[in-house]
């Protein structure tokens, strides 16, 4: 490991550093204000290490949820990670002792940095993946612990800071919308969820939504796949690649759905 490699990793992870410090900070403040201070924040950021889940965790802790409902909520909120793993199977092959950590630390943001698979020249890709993953988690831990410290030291009205989670999902949704060739899955996701929310209520709607979304996408596969391959050329248009570069340069974190 040399300084050049570390420099490359820091540059690569800069967008995630800023994003994680802000989101982690929000989580730290939220958790602290709910009565779960630095020790709890540190434990959650080290062992759970899933942004949206940790925000939800605070409300589960304060509302006295059961272990079963916590496990189910985790399953529903984090199920999307299944699909990150699927596309990293080949890249993580042969990573040896680093592999368990690489898989453990595969968050939305880390995935967005690594899914393209480009590594600096002359660098062991698995060492590079490992350092990017590790740095991202360190940023998350630092952000959340800072939030917990500041949250207990100064008093300011933090009501609404948990909206950072909603804003993150809205941002990813828009990002995916801009890069997707086919908008039906995104529309279906929103519509099915809204209908299920109306029918089943806010506590029960996620599982029926997921089942219906999965069923809808499975039945629609012949149609969607034709669209995917038919629209493949669109991704090569100069406009698309320009936007892509611009977004990378401006520090936007690219996410999912683009790894075909």
């Amino acid at each position: 490991m040399n300084r050049n490699l570390l420099r490359q990793v820091v540059i690569k992870t800069l967008p995630v550093m800023t994003g994680y410090v802000v989101l982690g900070f929000g989580f730290g403040i939220l958790s602290e204000s709910a009565g779960y201070g630095i020790g709890w924040v540190l434990a959650m950021s080290v062992f759970i290490y899933a942004g949206s889940m940790q925000y939800l965790m605070v409300s589960l802790l304060t509302s006295g949820a059961s272990v079963i409902s916590t496990a189910l909520a985790t399953l529903m909120v984090n199920a999307r990670h299944l699909f990150y793993g699927i596309s990293m199977i080949d890249k993580y092959k042969g990573a040896g002792a680093k592999k368990p950590y690489l898989i453990f630390a595969l968050t939305d943001e880390t995935y967005s940095l690594l899914c393209h698979g480009d590594t600096p020249e002359g660098v062991n890709p698995h060492l590079y993946y490992f350092l990017v993953s590790l740095f991202d988690q360190i940023y998350w831990i630092i952000g959340s612990v800072l939030g917990a410290i500041v949250g207990s030291a100064v008093t300011f009205n933090s009501a609404g800071i948990d909206f950072a989670m909603t804003a993150l999902f809205v941002t990813v949704f828009v990002e995916q919308w801009l890069t997707a060739k086919n908008h039906v899955p995104a529309i279906a996701g929103v519509c099915i969820s809204v209908v299920c929310l109306a029918v089943f209520g806010s506590d029960l709607f996620l599982i029926p939504s997921m089942i219906l979304i999965l069923a809808g996408l499975s039945f629609g596969r012949p149609v969607f796949e034709r669209k995917e391959s038919g629209g493949a050329a669109a991704a090569e248009l100069p406009d698309a690649s320009d936007r892509h570069k611009r977004s990378a340069a401006s520090g936007a974190q690219e996410r999912s759905s683009r790894h075909d």
Partner: protein, 109 residues
């Protein structure tokens, strides 16, 4: 909630999260080629799931009572517009969150 209970909940979340992340590798890691159906789902599911998660975050809104979910809808719109305009993830998240905090703390009190 007792500390033991809180630890149990955190452990549950940590274990389930890790299981989800490890599952694809455990099930498919040994194969030479990922099944096409899974590859297809990997492409289309993230968009649908993200839409679902946005709805999930907004599930607590009461449309029939004041303020009718207005702070949430305005802040979501602000986040989306900001992202369409600058396409900077950090700016969109920070801007949307500040917008929401201002709305619920000062405007829709």
């Amino acid at each position: 909630m007792t500390d033991t209970r809180a630890i149990a909940l955190i452990a549950a979340a940590a274990i389930v999260t890790a299981l989800i992340r490890f599952l694809p590798f455990l099930l498919l890691g040994g194969r030479r080629k990922t099944p096409e159906y899974i590859t297809y789902l990997g492409k289309v599911l993230p968009c649908a799931i993200m839409g679902m998660l946005v709805v999930y975050c907004l599930r607590g809104i009461h449309l029939l009572t004041r303020p009718h979910g207005l702070p949430e809808f305005i802040a979501v719109a602000a986040t989306a517009v900001l992202h369409l305009w600058k396409r900077n993830t950090l700016l969109s998240i920070a801007g949307g969150t500040v917008c929401y905090m201002v709305l619920i703390q000062f405007i829709f009190k």
